[in-house]
C-alpha cells in the first residue's frame, strides 16, 4: 500500500494529509506485529541446536572422565537457564527471544537428564524419563509464555502416553497423561483469548484434539470394545466445540475441532458398519455388570456427560431451530450398543442407515450451497458404504456392477449440474 502513495499523491487522488495518515497507520501496525519470520527462525534455530545437542550427547563420550562428563551434562542446562533469565529481565516482551530461549532450555533439560543417565548408568525406562523431562519443562510455558514449548510439551506427554499405554508389554497405565493435559489448559485458554489470531492458536487447535484422540485408547484394558462409545463421545464433544467456534469465528479458518469431530465420527461409523463386528460383540460380551465396573465404561460415561452438556448448551443457543443428525449420533451409538448386546442384527442396519443419511445430508447441503467439495464428500461416503457392503452381502456381480454404474453416473451428473448452475449464476 505504502509504495503506491507517491503515485496517488502525484495524480492528486489523495491529499498529503491522507497519505501521512496511511503511512502512519502501517508503521504502528508493523511495530505491534513482531516479524513472524524472526520468530520462526528463532524457534527453528533453538530447535535444531537443541536436537543437535541431544545427538552429540547420544554419542556417549568414553574418552572423557566422569567428572568432566558430569560438568558437561549441566552446561547446556545452565546456559539455557541464564538465557531465559536474561530474557525475563531484559527482553520480556520480545516473542522471538521468549520462544527461542525456552525451546533451547526445553531440550537442554532432556539432554542433561539423559546425559546423567548415561554417565552413571541409571537404567530407568523411557516413559519415566520423558515424564520427568515434561514435568521440569512445564513451568517454562507459563513463566516464559512460550507457545512452542507448550506444543513440544503436548507432543511429549502424548509420546509418554503411547509409549506407556500402547508400546509397553505387559500393559502399563498412562493415567498421568490426563492431569498433565489439564495443566496445559489454562495456557491454551489464555492464548486463545489474548492472541486469537496467532498461528500458535491454530497449531494448538489441531495438536490438542489430536493428542486426546491418540491417547484416549490407552485407557482400554480388558473391554476395549466399549472404547468405541468413548471415542464417539469424545468426537461428539469436538464436534460441538467446533460448531460453537464456527459461529464465533472472526476469521475464515476451518475449525479443527469441527473437522475432526465430524469426519472422525463418520470414519468410526464405518468401523461399526460391518455385520461381523456386531456378531463378535454379541458372542464375546461378558455379563452387563462386568462392563459396568470396567474402566472403559467410566471413561465413556464421563465423556458422554460432557457431550450431553455441550448438546444442551447448543440447543439453548440455537433454540432447536434446525434438526441436525450429527448432534445426536453420540447418543444413538449407545442405543445401538444396547441393542447389539441383545443379539439382534438391528444395530448393524441402524449404523448403515446413519452413514447413508449423513452422506445424503452432506450431499444435499453441497447442492444447496453450490459447494463442490461437500457434494463430492457426500457422494464419496455413499460410495464407500456401498463398496463396504459388498463384503458382507451375497449380491451378484451384475447387481454390484449396476450399482457402481449408477454411483458413477451420480458423481458425473451432480458435479456437472453444480458447475452448470454456477455458470448460470455468473451470467
Amino acid at each position: 500500500m505504502i509504495k503506491y502513495l507517491p503515485e496517488l499523491l502525484k495524480e492528486n487522488i489523495i491529499s498529503q494529509d491522507v497519505a501521512d495518515r496511511i503511512s502512519g497507520y502501517y508503521q504502528t501496525k508493523n511495530e505491534q506485529n513482531p516479524n513472524r519470520l524472526f520468530i520462526v527462525f528463532g524457534i527453528l534455530g533453538a530447535f535444531l541446536v537443541g536436537l543437535g545437542l541431544i545427538l552429540i550427547i547420544a554419542h556417549n563420550w568414553d574418552e572423557l572422565s566422569r567428572p568432566v562428563k558430569s560438568g558437561l551434562a549441566f552446561l547446556p542446562l545452565i546456559v539455557g537457564q541464564v538465557l531465559c533469565g536474561y530474557v525475563l529481565m531484559k527482553k520480556n516482551d520480545n516473542i522471538s527471544w521468549q520462544e527461542g530461549t525456552s525451546t533451547f532450555l526445553f531440550f537442554a533439560i532432556g539432554a542433561s537428564i539423559s546425559l546423567i543417565s548415561q554417565i552413571y548408568n541409571i537404567s530407568g525406562n523411557l516413559s519415566t524419563f520423558i515424564l520427568t523431562w515434561m514435568l521440569l519443562s512445564l513451568p517454562l510455558i507459563y513463566i516464559m509464555r512460550s507457545s512452542f514449548t507448550s506444543l513440544l510439551f503436548i507432543s511429549g506427554i502424548t509420546y509418554y502416553a503411547c509409549n506407556t499405554g500402547y508400546w509397553t508389554y505387559p500393559y502399563e497405565d498412562a493415567y498421568l497423561y490426563w492431569p498433565l493435559m489439564l495443566l496445559i489448559v489454562p495456557y491454551y485458554i489464555l492464548l486463545t483469548r489474548k492472541k486469537a489470531e496467532s498461528n500458535f492458536v491454530v497449531f494448538h487447535d489441531w495438536i490438542i484434539p489430536l493428542s486426546l484422540i491418540i491417547s484416549l485408547g490407552t485407557i482400554a484394558k480388558n473391554h476395549s470394545v466399549l472404547m468405541y462409545i468413548a471415542y464417539f463421545n469424545l468426537l461428539g464433544v469436538f464436534y460441538f466445540i467446533g460448531d460453537a467456534k464456527k459461529i464465533k469465528a472472526t476469521s475464515q479458518r476451518t475449525s479443527s475441532y469441527y473437522v475432526l469431530g465430524y469426519f472422525g465420527t463418520i470414519i468410526l461409523l464405518f468401523f461399526l458398519s460391518f455385520e461381523h463386528f456386531w456378531t463378535n460383540f454379541y458372542l464375546n460380551s461378558p455379563p452387563a455388570v462386568v462392563y459396568l465396573y470396567s474402566r472403559e465404561f467410566y471413561a465413556s460415561l464421563i465423556l458422554f456427560v460432557l457431550a450431553l452438556v455441550f448438546l444442551v448448551r447448543k440447543s439453548k443457543r440455537t433454540g432447536n431451530q434446525t434438526f441436525n443428525l450429527m448432534d445426536f449420533i453420540f447418543m444413538i451409538i449407545i442405543i445401538t450398543f444396547i441393542i447389539g448386546y441383545s443379539g439382534t442384527s438391528f444395530s448393524f442396519i441402524l449404523i448403515n442407515l446413519l452413514i447413508l443419511s449423513t452422506g445424503i445430508t452432506i450431499l444435499l447441503n453441497g447442492a444447496k450451497t453450490n459447494h463442490l467439495g461437500l457434494l463430492n464428500i457426500g457422494l464419496l461416503i455413499i460410495t464407500a458404504l456401498v463398496g463396504y457392503r459388498f463384503f458382507d452381502t451375497d449380491l451378484s456381480f451384475l447387481t454390484r456392477g449396476i450399482l457402481f454404474i449408477i454411483l458413477g453416473v451420480g458423481f458425473f451428473y451432480s458435479n456437472y449440474w453444480i458447475l452448470n448452475k454456477r455458470k448460470v449464476n455468473e451470467k
Binding site: 541431544i54 550427547i57 547420544a58 554419542h59 556417549n60 563420550w61 568414553d62 558430569s70 551434562a73 549441566f74 542446562l77 545452565i78 537457564q81 531465559c84 533469565g85 525475563l88 529481565m89 520480556n92 533439560i109 532432556g110 542433561s112 537428564i113 539423559s114 546425559l115 546423567i116 543417565s117 548415561q118 554417565i119 552413571y120 548408568n121 541409571i122 537404567s123 530407568g124 525406562n125 523411557l126 524419563f129 520427568t132 521440569l136 513451568p139 517454562l140 513463566i143 508389554y169 505387559p170 500393559y171 502399563e172
Partner: protein
C-alpha cells in the same frame, strides 16, 4: 515491576529444581554404591538404540524366576518386590516375592512380572540398560552374541542394591570389565 520480580523469583525456583533433579540422580548413584550390597546377576544381552539417550545394551538376566503357588492370583505386568539372596553358585537369585515393600534390612528391588507359568513366575529386572559409547556398542553386541552362541564364557553384571534402589556398576566377561575389554581391544578367550 512487582509482577516481574515475582516471575523472576518463580523462575529461579524452577531453575533450581531443574538442576536438582540431575544432581539428585548423581547423589543417589553414589549413595547406593556406598551403602548398598553388591550382587552378581548372570546375563544375556542385545543391542537396540534409544533415540534420545544413545546406545545401550539391553540386558536380560537368567536368574529371573521363582516358584509360586497359583492361589496368589498374580497378574502379568504387575509390579512386585523381589527379595534377593546369593545362590550356591555365587550369583544373585530370587528368594521370595511380595506385593508389600519389604523391610529396609533386606535387599530387594521392585520388578514387573514378565510372564506366569503354572508354577513359575518370570520377572523383568529394572536394571536392564547399560549405556555405551556409540562407536563401541556394535562391537560389544557382537562380542556378547558370540559368547551366547557357542563360547562358554561367564558373563554377569555387578549391581549394587540399597533399599530398592540400584546401580549397575559394571559388566564382567570372563573376569574382565566390558569397558576395559572394549578399550584395550582384547579378544575374549575361554
Amino acid at each position: 515491576m512487582k509482577n516481574k520480580n515475582l516471575l523472576l523469583g518463580v523462575f529461579v525456583l524452577v531453575a533450581l529444581i531443574q538442576l536438582f533433579v540431575p544432581g539428585k540422580m548423581i547423589y543417589d548413584h553414589e549413595r547406593i554404591i556406598s551403602q548398598g550390597r553388591e550382587y552378581k546377576f548372570k546375563m544375556a544381552a542385545y543391542d537396540p538404540s534409544d533415540f534420545i539417550r544413545g546406545k545401550y545394551l539391553n540386558i536380560n538376566y537368567t536368574n529371573n524366576e521363582i516358584l509360586i503357588s497359583k492361589k496368589d492370583g498374580w497378574d502379568n505386568g504387575e509390579s512386585v518386590y523381589v527379595i534377593l539372596n546369593v545362590g550356591n553358585d555365587g550369583y544373585a537369585m530370587i528368594q521370595s516375592v511380595s506385593r508389600i515393600m519389604p523391610a529396609s534390612n533386606v535387599s530387594f528391588v521392585k520388578v514387573r512380572i514378565r510372564s506366569l507359568g503354572t508354577e513359575k513366575m518370570f520377572v523383568e529386572y529394572p536394571f536392564n540398560k547399560y549405556f555405551l559409547d556409540e562407536s563401541k556398542a556394535e562391537k560389544a553386541q557382537k562380542m556378547i552374541n558370540d559368547i551366547f552362541h557357542g563360547k562358554d564364557l561367564v558373563c554377569y553384571a555387578r549391581v549394587s542394591i540399597n533399599e530398592g534402589d540400584f546401580v549397575i556398576q559394571d559388566l564382567i566377561i570372563n573376569g574382565l570389565s566390558l569397558n576395559y575389554i572394549l578399550k584395550e581391544g582384547k579378544e575374549i578367550t575361554k
